[in-house]
Amino acid sequence: MDAAPFNSIARRKLPPKQLIYRHEIWTRVTHWIWAVCLFFLLLSGLQIFNAHPVLYSGDQSGFGFDNTVFEIGSDSQNEVTGGYTEILGLRFNTSGYLGFSDGRARAFPSWATIPSGQNLAFGRVVHFFFAWLLVATLAAWFAASVLNRHLQRDLIPTAADFKALPQDIHDHLRLRFHHGRRYSVLQKLTYGGVLFVLLPLMIVTGLAMSPGVNAAVPWLTEVLGGRQTARTLHFLTMLALVGFFAIHMAMILAAGPFNELRSIITGWYRTDTSEEDHV
């Protein structure tokens, strides 16, 4: 199979105003399922974290020794309770947001967790339901993207892409966007990084925390540095995904939210006149 089917579809459906069919149905539907999944996974994950808001390195949690790398907590001084966040021993006052919010001790505030109150049991139910949905959708997306060549055509960077990298970084920094049918190399690297690095890392570090998986695949937890390190990596990967989301939103706003949203909802995308030859 080659890229011809897609291109012929794109050409055939190309209306006069440089509107092109950019995202196929698989890409659009899986995108929105992921968006929903990641929203629920994040908020239920913070709920789960709140049950023991400390991260460690190694196999176990240091109660009789210190291997803490991150902690959200609260303490009282002069009868005033405040929240703090401690990163590698450095303590920051995060009252009102982390450690203490709405007048009570709580790692992540209630607006950031599902459910809003302390409920580890339901947080886990929500988390594992959407984890399964995410994995199933990723698998479907991967199969579809290999078959319809979305992967080869749109996501895997070419040598020419890497040559264009400095120019693309330069353009992005100046918020100068090219609206072509193809992703720019920074887009390819970012989406590829999320789909082939961050999400798999999330799944693998999650599995490494399961005692059932540990018994069947003991090396998995070991290569990740132990169960508590896996838990820390799971948390760090979450931060990376939140960072991706923030940049993703900023780029969409800067590049033209109407056009970008239309393309990921309907598939149709308006390209720059100057990019017509790319189509």
């Binding site: 460690y56 176990q60 109660f63 109150g117 580890l120 886990r124 059932g212 018994a215 069947a216």
Partner: protein, 263 residues
């Protein structure tokens, strides 16, 4: 009781806080869906059944949890949940050094039996240095010594109808309006027959301390801590657990936790 940080008082306080949060939250609908037996929650809980079936299907019945070396025991085993049962019958047993303790095994078995501690400790034992994983997220490595449950099952001979093993415990974990809630747990026969599933009477080379579940506690090394009932009073082989307690297979399960805790 298992290793859950939620003591009864904290649990009730959190439940009250959660209740008030539900009332003030804009996410009322979502929070309501979290009630045990809510249809939305039931649908989402089916993911746990999938996890259970898939882990049982993919992983060997006897895949062993990782065992560590003595050097990995770096701290005392963190006690959790009930650490001092308030119950009078337990106190009188403890006062006597548990010499009057009897473990009754019955239910769907051909040969119900009762064991005292001296008998249990004279049976072939197994020691294992394993990592205890709490549902809250923390882990702790310790050495557990006890009698493999499968040896006891061989002696009582479960009938063909038996599907689960029920552990009833001495400790009252919560005082409800309708009376005391005692801890209980259930596991399937695959975990019950697993080589690392033991009834532990020893911890880190010494006798099992009261705070960790003396005189006898369960170890199910491929699941989370709340499955590992402490202060075990009796064992029953059963065909279903829907008619026991809240019907979900354990004290914490009745409060919304998943029955299968291999994840």
């Amino acid at each position: 009781m298992s290793e859950m940080l939620l003591s009864r008082r904290r649990f009730l306080r959190r439940a009250a806080l959660a209740g008030s949060a539900v009332m003030v939250s804009g996410c009322d609908v979502l929070d309501e869906a979290g009630a045990v037996d809510h249809p939305v929650r039931d649908a989402m809980e089916s993911a746990n059944a999938l996890t259970y079936r898939l882990q049982r299907f993919l992983f060997g019945r006897n895949a062993l949890a990782r065992e560590y070396s003595r050097a990995d025991i770096q701290q005392p085993q963190r006690p959790n949940g009930v650490t001092a049962p308030p119950d009078a019958d337990y106190h009188s047993l403890a006062a006597d050094g548990f010499t009057g303790y009897r473990l009754d095994i019955g239910g769907l078995v051909e040969n119900p039996m009762s064991f005292d501690l001296a008998t249990l400790t004279s049976l072939p034992s197994r020691s294992q240095i394993t990592r205890h994983d709490c549902v809250e997220g923390w882990s702790c490595i310790a050495e557990w010594t006890g009698v493999p449950l499968t040896l006891l099952l061989d002696r009582v001979r479960p009938t063909a109808e038996a599907r689960y093993v029920l552990f009833r415990c001495y400790d009252t974990i919560e005082q409800g309006l309708s009376g005391a809630f005692k801890y209980y747990e259930t596991i399937d026969l695959i975990d019950a027959r697993h080589p690392q599933t033991i009834l532990a009477y020893g911890l880190n080379g010494g006798p099992l301390p009261v705070e960790n579940g003396a005189p006898l506690r369960l170890r199910v090394e491929r699941q989370l801590g709340y499955k590992m009932a402490k202060y075990v009073r009796s064992i029953e082989l059963i065909s279903r657990f829907s008619d026991i307690g809240g019907g979900r297979g354990g004290y914490w399960e009745d409060r919304g936790y998943d029955w299968y805790a291999g994840i």
